[in-house]
């Protein structure tokens, strides 16, 4: 062993990245490997709720306590990723009074600030709430951007010396004498995968300790060392609306149920969700009835959802875990708490611990606990600082400065850029050339796109999740080609074209669950812009060579119309 232990962390979601940052800040040598992009798994597919703990205040108070504690921490250390919208639990006439009281008492028992307001007061805050909402409990729920949070954690981990390898899939664990001593990884290649770290080939990464933070994929890593980790993946749908019908997180005040939450997120509102166990976290059905259920159930809380426009839907898989002796049948009964599985104690396999279960909101706390556990293995006494040290972008960011004039941006664009970039705004937006808007729906400028390209290489989907470009109403209809052009400054045309095609395809995929009404009209417009105007569906650069000589070369033979300045049309409107 070198002077400091080397820890391999598997998994680049919020949990893994939180662990990597924590261990790196404590001075350990850390390598994190992730099979896809950062947030490739569940983190990239959640509704963006910063829990107050209210949702678990009746059924799962251990989780509720952790949530409210971390809710306060994240508001401090990740201010540029959080929007404190506030939240409420609303009660409809058919929801029971008993449960409402239990919820209120539960919140109080868990120190979650909660107050009862009348139906009128609730509607004064959220005018689109149904007329027959009786009353509500307010709680400090918020919205959080998981992509921004994970990217900021990764930047901080790297600042503290961590090595982060994305697009590096673990193909095996290296086990010697009942001890895990490293991981075998396969680094993928391609300009679109040059996110961070090594490109191409296989590598054996030796480590003094391995942390399995792969969430719903934890069982697969366990299998490589013949240990059983019974994660119970459970899918949930999230349906994105084109505007924020509400500015506050709206929860339905009743015991567990599908379609009981609306989270305002950036320019959208996200409806959630379902809870259904699946066998394979990568292959499960995404079904139209789930989308219908979101709209038809949540319109009981916000009637305008019936006629509102949805722009896409996506599914995520919760990495639920419960100790084997509990045996819940229904995934909604499984605790949202996290578990640290020390395979030495549990399976006589030394050198590895898995962390399973848990919630996005508690990612930092999970990181702290497992980092303590890792440090214990080596007798290291190092203090956790992740609850105090702000993430890059959230340092010294108390006031939104007037960046609009400073960087020549119109005010809504300036404000939104600064909200996304936090204290990095000055570095990113301070460019020499003009800084036009590339994505109008989400107010993303060229400077922000360029900054994201410098971090993610020729992968426009990675640029998208960093900036939100192409994630608004038009779903990339107007900006996919613009994003590709920004990429072309760094990469050649063919690589650019492939990244562009991948972005178009990805944007299309999620809209499939929203294709009716205005969004179908939007899709038809996008199709016309891309196929009719740009002829991207028959791109000759991709297909058969074109016989140019067989087509019209103008009324005069090619090459002989050298009378420059002569325009052959006989206009009638041209007055001068």
């Amino acid at each position: 062993m070198a002077s400091v232990p080397h820890i391999a962390v598997i998994g680049g979601g919020s949990t893994g990245i939180g662990i990597a940052r924590d261990l790196a800040m404590r001075g350990l040598d850390v390598t994190l490997v992730e099979q896809g992009n950062l947030t490739h798994g569940t983190t990239g597919r959640m509704h963006g709720l910063l829990h107050s703990g209210g949702r678990y205040a009746v059924s799962d108070q251990a989780s509720a306590n952790e949530c409210i504690e971390e809710n306060k921490v994240l508001r401090d250390i990740a201010s540029h990723c959080v929007e404190m919208t506030g939240g409420m639990f609303v009660k409809r006439p058919e929801d029971t009074e008993e449960y409402f009281e239990e919820k209120l008492e539960g919140c109080k028992a868990c120190d979650i600030p909660a107050e009862v307001i009348s139906g009128e007061e609730a509607r004064a805050i959220e005018p689109h709430l149904a007329r027959d909402i009786d009353k509500a409990i307010t709680v400090p729920d918020g919205a959080i951007d998981p992509f921004r949070l994970v990217v900021a954690n990764a930047a901080s981990a790297e600042e503290h010396g961590a090595r982060i390898e994305t697009h590096s899939k673990v193909t095996d664990l290296v086990v010697e004498d009942d001890e895990v001593v490293g991981v075998e990884v396969e680094h993928q290649t391609g300009p679109d995968k040059k996110v961070r770290g090594t490109e191409g080939g296989t590598e054996q990464i030796r480590a003094d300790y391995v942390v399995n933070a792969t969430g719903a994929w934890a069982g697969r890593i366990g299998d490589m060392a013949n240990v059983d980790i019974e994660v119970r993946p459970s899918k949930g749908v999230m349906t994105i609306m084109n505007i924020r019908q509400v500015d506050t997180v709206i929860n339905r005040c009743r015991p567990k149920g599908d379609a009981d939450i609306i989270v305002p997120h950036e320019t959208t509102a996200i409806l959630g969700t379902t809870d259904e166990e699946v066998d394979d976290p990568e292959d499960y059905p995404e079904e139209g009835w789930e989308v219908e259920l979101m709209i038809d159930t949540l319109k009981e809380l916000v009637p305008m959802l019936e006629e509102a426009r949805t722009i896409r839907s996506f599914w995520g898989v919760r990495p639920l875990y419960e100790p084997p002796d509990v045996g819940s049948d229904d995934p909604t009964d499984i605790t949202r708490d996290y578990f640290l599985l020390d395979h030495e104690e549990r399976d006589d396999l030394h050198g590895m611990t898995s962390i399973v279960g848990g919630k996005f909101t508690t990612y930092r706390m999970m990181g702290e606990e497992i980092s303590d556990h890792v440090c214990d293995q080596f007798g290291i006494d190092a203090e956790c600082r992740t609850a105090e040290v702000p993430l890059p972008g959230s340092e010294d960011f108390s006031v939104l400065r007037d960046y609009m004039d400073e960087f020549g941006l119109r005010s809504p664009i300036g404000r939104r850029s600064v909200e996304r970039l936090g204290s990095r705004a000055e570095d990113v937006l301070n460019t020499d050339g003009p800084n036009p808007t590339v994505c109008e729906c989400e107010a993303v400028t060229r400077a922000e796109i360029k900054d994201a390209i410098s971090q993610s290489g020729a992968n426009l989907n990675a640029v998208r999740i960093r900036t939100r470009a192409s994630m608004g109403n038009c779903q990339g209809g107007f900006c996919c080609n613009r994003m590709a052009s920004e990429l072309h400054g760094e990469f050649d045309e063919q690589i650019t074209r492939e990244a562009w095609d991948a972005l178009l395809q990805e944007r299309w995929k999620g809209q499939r669950h929203a294709l009716w009404g205005q969004q179908l009209s939007q899709a038809a417009l996008n199709y016309a812009l891309h196929a009719t105007t740009q002829n991207r569906d028959n791109d000759p650069a991709d297909g058969e060579p074109v016989d140019f000589a067989a087509f019209d070369s103008g009324p005069t033979p090619t090459g002989t119309s050298g009378q420059t300045g002569v325009v052959t049309d006989g206009g009638t409107r041209d007055g001068d």
Binding site: N481, H530, Q534, D547, D552, T568
Partner: protein, 424 residues
């Protein structure tokens, strides 16, 4: 008392304007009502007839040759090859500043996406950009115009195999325009040739632009810029720039808001005005009376419903993009007269999973009898005095075929003519 006309056209896009024009030229008293901004502002201004067959064969050199083999439900099959050619004749006659009528062969024009696209008629402003011309090209982009990156387009065209050398350069447009200035702002500056500040001195906009391009020009004989080169005085702007640069200047057609599309819309409105039709824009059709015949429609204006009666009606309200066809979670429908639109019962069958797959939604619209009169699910007439034209028609995928303008022109022409003959 109701507002009366012989032929009433609903819709102010290419199909509506053409049907009104065609009916007026037959001598009918024509009224055109339109609600929303025409989708022509979204259109590149290129006028396509047919670039690819429904099976994806193409680019077609001869747009007419494939028409007789199209499926029966295709609007071209309804109106027939001769009508398509007559309609193009009408277009050539009434719309100035267009080229392509000298041949029945398609042209290939560079797109702002860096590909080439087959089309039958093209604005004179785009003509020197023809991809079958082998003279070298310099493309010039503007730093703050994100829809046209000249280096990217040039590299893409090169990989598309164009028969000339093409380079891209990017300049800053002279003057202190905001980074998000609209295309009309550039066009206006060049139209009026106003003075712009350049390094502390004022210069005429056209001179200042040419001075930025000149040092970048090597021996290219053609210079392409995004379609911002003037609006009302586009020809003079181009001529002046060509003369100053010693090279032929052309525009690359762009996405919305598209100046060539707007210029085409203006030209058609002007021709319609000259033909003597009455035009009312900005108000929706709210309702109608009639069973077998449409007796009257009601235009909603400032909260009041104003009756408009006519002998014959043309429905040219557009497709899904123009909202002449709408949908909800259960159904695709035609909102003005509720004409039948055939569509799959399960909305997940309205599209393919591939972004450029054979999307059924793209072909959704009304079906008609041979006289373009919409029919119901049993093939019977919805109304005896309503004809449909353009995007509201079903049975073709204009985006894949590059047939949108040609279908609008030919069905508009046929519907207007037939409506007028019936009314007179």
């Amino acid at each position: 008392m109701a507002i009366e006309s012989e032929v009433l056209v609903i819709g102010g896009g290419l199909a509506g304007l053409t049907s009104a024009l065609s009916a007026a030229r037959e001598g009918a008293d024509v009224r055109l009502v339109s609600y929303k901004q025409s989708t022509l502002r979204n259109a590149s201004g290129l006028v396509d007839i047919l670039g690819y067959t429904p099976d994806g064969e193409g680019p077609l050199t001869d747009p007419y040759e494939a028409i007789p083999d199209l499926p029966d439900e295709h609007p071209y099959s309804t109106v027939g090859l001769r009508t398509v050619k007559e309609a193009m004749g009408l277009f050539d006659e009434v719309v100035p500043n267009y080229q392509g009528e000298h041949t029945e062969t398609n042209a290939l024009l560079p797109t702002h996406g860096g590909t080439v696209k087959p089309t039958a008629r093209y604005p004179a402003s785009a003509a020197p950009g023809l991809a079958s011309d082998d003279r070298d090209v310099l493309l010039v982009g503007l730093e703050s115009m994100v829809d046209f990156d000249a280096q990217h387009v040039a590299a893409h065209l090169e990989n598309a195999g164009v028969p000339f050398d093409v380079r891209g350069e990017t300049i800053r447009f002279p003057g202190d325009l905001r980074a998000d200035a609209k295309v009309t702002r550039y066009a206006k500056l060049l139209d009026t040739n106003s003075e712009v500040p350049v390094r502390g001195r004022n210069k005429m906009a056209r001179d200042a632009l040419a001075e930025r391009v000149n040092p970048l020009l090597e021996d290219e004989e053609r210079v392409g810029l995004p379609a911002i080169l003037g609006d009302d005085h586009a020809r003079s702007v181009r001529a002046a720039l060509s003369q100053k640069l010693g090279a032929e200047v052309f525009e690359v057609p762009m996405g919305p808001p598209s100046l060539p599309g707007l210029r085409l819309e203006d030209a058609l409105f002007e021709a319609l005005d000259e033909a003597g039709a009455s035009i009312e824009t900005g108000n929706p059709v709210a309702d109608f009376d009639g069973e077998d015949r449409v007796e009257r429609i009601y235009i909603e204006k400032n909260g009041a419903k104003i009756p408009n009666t006519a002998d014959q009606y043309v429905l040219a309200t557009g497709g899904l993009v123009g909202k002449g066809i709408e949908s909800n979670r259960e159904n695709v429908y035609e909102p003005v007269f509720d004409c039948h639109v055939d569509n799959a019962a399960d909305r997940y069958e309205w599209f393919e999973n591939d972004v450029f797959g054979d999307h059924p939604f793209a072909t959704y619209g009304v079906a008609t009898d041979p006289d373009l009169r919409p029919t119901d699910a049993d093939g019977d007439l919805e109304f005896e005095n309503v004809r449909a034209a353009g995007g509201v028609l079903g049975g073709y995928d204009y985006a894949a075929e590059k047939s949108g303008s040609g279908v609008s022109l030919s069905t508009g022409y046929a519907a207007g003519q037939s409506a007028a003959q019936e009314a007179l």
